[in-house]
Amino acid sequence: MLCGLSTSLSKSAPKVHAKLTTRILLTVLLLAVFAISVGAAPAREVILATTTSTADTGLLDVLIPIFQEKTGYMVKTIAVGTGQALALGSRGEADVLLCHAPASELELVKNGDVIERKLVMHNDFIIVGPASDPAKVRGLKSAAEAFSRISGGQSVFVSRGDDSGTHKKEKAVWTKLGTAPSGKWYVEAGAGMGRTLSIASEKDGYTLTDRGTYLAFQKNLALDILVEGDAILLSIYHVMQVNPAKFAKVNGAGGLAFAEFMVSPEVQEIISTFGVDKYGDPLFFPDAGKNVDDLGK
């Protein structure tokens, strides 16, 4: 091996050199071409920070192409956890936010991080259960009252038990009621929404679910919608522009354009019918121009 190496070196040293130079040049050229094609960023872009649950419904996949077509802006939708979306806004790293955490959003408004906060839409959690309804909660207007009857009658209740947003909402209702549920009737699934619904269906139990997942799984379930419309069960979505006066690098015009787009009659109309073709019912209820305190009444 050593022998072969030394002869190849002595015979073809200049050739190796030339070959090496060509290869290096070729590599550099290739890298440059790649870098240019990969690196070019469009100038007019809007960064929208939103929550994964919003993006996962697919609503934005319908709305954003319309916005881009209309305004010529390129929207970068960054779907992250609620906490991260709000943090991106409060650091000026996004141009516009679409979130459903009103209490935390108001803090950003108070700090002057965001402006032009507008009510867009809501969707809701619902209490579902067997058609026989042993706890007699059908048609109740208060989620707490329904929970109270379920626990009083020791009817089976299946909880997510996974510390998700839905589980937190459930715990908020129990807290409002002033009790901590426990007993054989209270089943902690430790599972996602779809699986929790299946368990509730098989055990003839009640559960709290978001409307979208229930509609998606409805055909495989023996569960009816029993309680809906209580204000505590609503997820309320606001759009807000990150304040360009506070963060000079924020795209103020683009953020404002998107916020106004979300409350425009055209978009509100799309929201009101989104999901009907797939589930038979809409996933969201458009609320632009309404007073947030009137929701759930």
Binding site: S6, L31, I78, E93
Partner: protein, 234 residues
């Protein structure tokens, strides 16, 4: 079982019909990970060779850093690259956040220590006599590196395979610095994760199968190159 069959048939139809979105996602995946691997190769091979042969102060400390870097968690890289590239970060004026270029940077940081480290150990395993003999034959420094890398090509190709495999399969860094923006920074891993969270398991399986096919194809090409190199060596 139904789910697997659904996934496979979805993948088949997506490929056969030449779905434009999937094609674009697959192409971007290849471009980003391929470019990151090439840059890591261009820097990592000379660097690994220098670390294997060099006799300078701090060499063993540098070698330890490289070896530690081989296990860098992608989310950690993603976080640090984000901090640097955010608008109000030190490199914010470059406006690279949420672009494919940002993903290339993050993936290069992930692949570079792997390629450097494996090159270093490959070159280090060569008979130290070769080094001396080549120098005594009058090889220039550049020729020396080139010939040693040729000698250690099995190890260097293994380094490329390992580096490419790591970056094409990572998700943490791509998700954080790319943002999974549709049509812009969505790659196969981030798209798969998103479809899972949307409950579209069929699409997710289809995307994962496409990713596996791409990785398998590229890796087999590199492996063939490696085997060929190995057989002509002696």
């Amino acid at each position: 079982m139904d789910l697997i069959a659904e996934g496979i048939s979805k993948a088949f139809w997506l490929l056969v019909k030449g779905d434009r979105d999937v094609f674009q996602i697959a192409l971007l995946t290849l471009r980003v990970s391929g470019l990151a691997t090439l840059i890591s190769l261009a820097i990592g091979v000379p660097l690994g060779t220098a670390l294997a042969l060099g006799r300078f102060r701090g060499r063993s400390a540098a070698a330890s850093i490289v070896n530690t870097g081989m296990g860098l968690p992608p989310v950690v890289v993603g976080l640090w690259v984000s901090i640097m590239l955010w608008r109000y970060g030190p490199l914010g004026s470059l406006r690279l956040m949420y672009t494919p270029a940002a993903m290339v940077i993050a993936q290069t940081i992930i692949a570079l220590p792997i390629i450097t480290g494996l090159t270093m150990s490959g070159i280090g395993q060569l008979d130290p006599g070769i080094h001396v003999q080549l120098l005594s034959l009058g090889a220039t420094r550049l020729q020396l590196v080139w010939l040693l890398v040729r000698e250690a090509r099995l190890a260097v190709l293994a380094a490329v395979i390992a580096g490419f495999g790591r970056v094409i399969s990572e998700i943490g860094a791509s998700m954080m610095v790319g943002g999974n923006v549709v049509g812009h920074t969505r790659v196969l891993t981030t798209a798969t994760s998103m479809e899972v969270s949307r409950g579209n398991f069929g699409e997710a399986i289809a995307l994962s199968l496409i990713l596996l096919c791409i990785t398998l194809t590229i890796t087999s090409c590199l492996t063939r190159l490696q085997q060929k190199g190995g057989s002509t060596q002696s």
